[in-house]
């Protein structure tokens, strides 16, 4: 591989500044509107339910889900994007969180696990950081077979799926496209996301993570 290619890869592999969010999200929304579509990833869950025959049980799933194939392709592309970014453009695979956050994370685990630069992007074993303290090894199969992993993965998944459809959208549908269209319902939903997130983060999550089995 030429030096030039390596330079490009290294450039992309750096951590991206927050304002790149405007570029990434803005371009995504622009392209989807240009293709005469919407931005909303959680709608795929409804489509998958309908495709599996959930329409026999509830009218909510009786819709022309064949017209939603494009959104499943967006999700497939997102999977591929995650794969490439994690494996080939991961850089140091660290989440560059603030010193205050490191302190909070160590408070949650009740011992100093993380120091500056050692917080990984993913709470699990990563390609570049193959060893993670068991306390933060959440996204693994062995974690799934523990009480706390079960609550986090199954409980969290259930609430995401239930809440997104109840609220009629998720972070992409409400917090991005809804807010950008000045939809008051979306603002209410985003306020709801934050109320729920704050309750979970401050009052429940530290105790769930500390369950020793």
């Amino acid at each position: 591989m030429s030096d030039y290619m390596q330079q490009v890869i290294d450039f992309i592999s750096q951590p991206w500044p927050w304002w790149m969010g405007g570029v990434v999200i803005g371009t995504t929304l622009f392209l989807l509107y240009f293709f005469d579509k919407e931005f909303g990833l959680s709608s795929n869950l409804r489509t998958m339910c309908a495709a599996d025959g959930a329409g026999d049980f509830a009218d909510f799933f009786k819709f022309d889900w064949n017209t939603q194939w494009w959104n499943l392709m967006v999700a497939l592309g997102a999977m591929f994007g995650g794969y490439m970014a994690a494996n080939y453009f991961g850089g140091d695979s660290a989440a560059h969180v603030s010193p205050g956050t490191i302190e909070i994370l160590n408070d949650i685990s009740q011992r100093a696990i993380f120091s500056e630069g050692s917080v990984p992007i993913v709470a699990g074993t990563t390609v570049i950081k193959p060893v993670i303290d068991p306390f933060w090894d959440i996204y693994s199969w062995s974690s799934l077979f523990s009480v706390r992993g079960l609550i986090i993965i199954i409980g969290g998944g259930f609430m995401i799926g239930f809440g997104a459809r109840y609220a009629g959208g998720c972070t992409s549908g409400h917090a991005i496209s809804g807010l950008a269209d000045f939809q008051l319902p979306s603002l209410v939903a985003v306020i709801g996301f934050f109320i729920g997130g704050l309750i979970m983060t401050w009052l429940l999550l530290p105790y769930i993570l500390r369950i020793p089995f």
């Binding site: 951590p15 927050w18 969010g21 990434v24 999200i25 803005g26 240009f34 293709f35 005469d36 990833l41 959680s42 869950l45 409804r46 339910c49 959930a54 049980f57 509830a58 799933f61 392709m73 999700a75 592309g77 997102a78 591929f80 994007g81 995650g82 970014a85 494996n87 989440a95 969180v97 956050t101 949650i108 992007i121 996204y139 609550i151 993965i153 199954i154 998944g157 799926g161 239930f162 997104a164 459809r165 109840y166 009629g168 959208g169 409400h174 991005i176 496209s177 809804g178 950008a180 269209d181 979306s186 939903a189 306020i191 709801g192 109320i195 729920g196 997130g197 704050l198 979970m200 769930i208």
Partner: protein, 137 residues
Amino acid sequence: MKVFKYILVGFLFGFGMWKLEAVSTFRIIEMFHFESFHMYGIIISGVSVSIVVTQLFKRGIIKTFKGNEHHFTPKDKAWNRYIFGGIIFGMGWALTGVCSGMMFLLLGAGYTVFAVFLGAALLGTFTYGYFRKYLPH
């Protein structure tokens, strides 16, 4: 080509969200503890550019590739569902540290346990659809 363009949009979004660390549980914990501007910066810049994009399409300055104006569907004017559904979603988001979009990134990155998370999310969606008529909207 028809399929490819949607995969490309998803790729761009997924790749970018990973590099912005929005996929990280630790960034979500940081956000809900107000310990950094990073996540808020992503949301604020993302929404700001999206406002411009939305207005360009709404005013018909930019048309879709078919040449027609993009149709915007207003959300229902109901309140209970947004606040209750929002709170449940927010609790799930903070519990796993992952939202419905980031789930696909992690699955693609090789965290196969997210297949179970996806299954649980489908069960949640199905449960909502099943009990929909009994819930306040």
